[in-house]
Amino acid sequence: MNSAPSLTPSAPLPPETKTGTPTPAGRASTLIAAQFETQAAVRQGSAWTNIQAIAGVVIKELYRRKDFYVLFILTALITLALGSARFFGEDGSVRYLKEICLLLIWIAGLVIAITTTARQIPAERENRTIFPLLAKPVTRQHLVLGKFFGCWLACGLALLVFYFFFGVISAVREHDWSPGAYFQILTLHWFLLGIIVAMTLLGSIVFAAPSSNSTITLLVAVGILLLGRHLNTLALQLAAPAQQIVYAIYFTIPHLELFDVRDLVIHNLGTIPWLIWCGALGYAAAYSAIFLGAACLLFRRKALN
């Protein structure tokens, strides 16, 4: 654990430095402050380097494992097989194909995010590689953040491939290309997976086995996706104490369904306002930060063996 220095770069300087006529004491303070600033920058730089290095390993792991390839080939095969079907001699029907392709992409995205993340920390502990990894200067926070960014970026890369395939299929069948809508669905999906990755990382510290963590996280994510939007409607139909409880749950849970804009893309309903889109990304970032913060906090006191 790195303890914060007593004099930080943000600490107030003596008043004479502000007037432009520094005294010897003021000059000494400035020098000390500059020294600490350099050290903090080096530490910050090394922290980011550590996080990057850990994230890089996770990304390499994704393309070495077969999960992604299997899921992508399955998605492509099912989509192409369905795309070859003609109904009543009509070859212009495309929305059913977009719906099924997006459903497969969402399933694949969830599976990749959860399975990749759930095994990260338990595998390091099981193989006992966590001890050399946590040797100085890598801290436990660096490890959690590195794993998070690695898994999240890996999900982003996988999504890029999936959505490129989806875009090609849609453009070929529909002869229409809506880059704004496709960019929004990709980014929203990616940020949704950010919340799920952070949630799974937290679960991997709380739960004993990766399998239980994967199952529970998957159930929670699917449950929120299916029911999250309707909890307020449900709450209004309940009596007083239950109503408050359900409403509290409604406002507490991360509303993953907000990021599900598949219907807008399927039915060509255009883009959502960009300010709303930014708000959704901010919402995702806030929840990811909450889950990551909780994961870092719990991992600080977690016994490694």
Binding site: F87, R229, F251
Partner: protein
Amino acid sequence: MQIREYLLTLSLLGTICFSLATYLEPWFQHWAGNRAQSANVLTVALGDSRRLFAKHFYVKADAYFHSGYYPTIFDNRPASGQMHMAAAGAGQKQHEEGTDFLGQPKDWLDAFSRHFFPSKHRHLGEGAVPEHHHEGADGHHDDDDKGGSGEEREVLPWLRLSANLDPERPETYIIASYWLRSQLGKVNEAEQFLREGLRSNPGNYEILLELGRIYYENRKDFDRARNVWELALRNRRESAKPEAEILPYAQLVGNLAKLEDEQHNYAKALEYLDLLYQVSPHKDSIQKWIDEVKAKKLQGP
């Protein structure tokens, strides 16, 4: 344990299995719940649950008709329970829509979330919603323009799938046929699909009614239309529950009356108009029609 004992045990188990199979196999072949009797892969794989999936895909087609703006089980649904595309298919211009099932946003999160899913009412074939498009107070876009953009074809894959899963659901054939012939100009495909429906639902009068429309409206083959509709009327009278659906019956006798009126068979037309008068809620307009036909009959050919 010796190898010989293993072999003897395996032989004994094999003999028991064979003996049981000779008893169980004939029983299984005659068992009512045996799915293997069906040649349909979906029936074998899904059993009776395929009807649930068929219903789901039928509803999915209706959701596509509304471009994804569709109530879930948590939202308020229209009381009639009839699908909107079915109502449109049955020629009901003012079909009940349940236009604003979402209501006012319940909280800020609800209001925010409505940007992320279809929350405006529109129908397939209306094209992109232009800015000058008239929108009602409830957010419903008036369905007065038949753009004929061909977007209606998007409901067809789900209807086809629904019919494959549950062939004994006549409305699937009727709706698909309506969209095929009226919006997509695919009269042959519509007729073929209806005949497929008739094979699965022999003599179904609603399918015959729709088939008669194809002959009357699209093929202008009035004799065949009359034959098909008269068969439908006979089948309807012979069916167990003649009072079940008034609307198809009214449409059937109304179509027959119109056909006979146009073909100058006024006596037959009056006969059908009498039947229509008994069930129609618009008795004044029917009476007016009857008077007109009577006048024509008096004038002679």
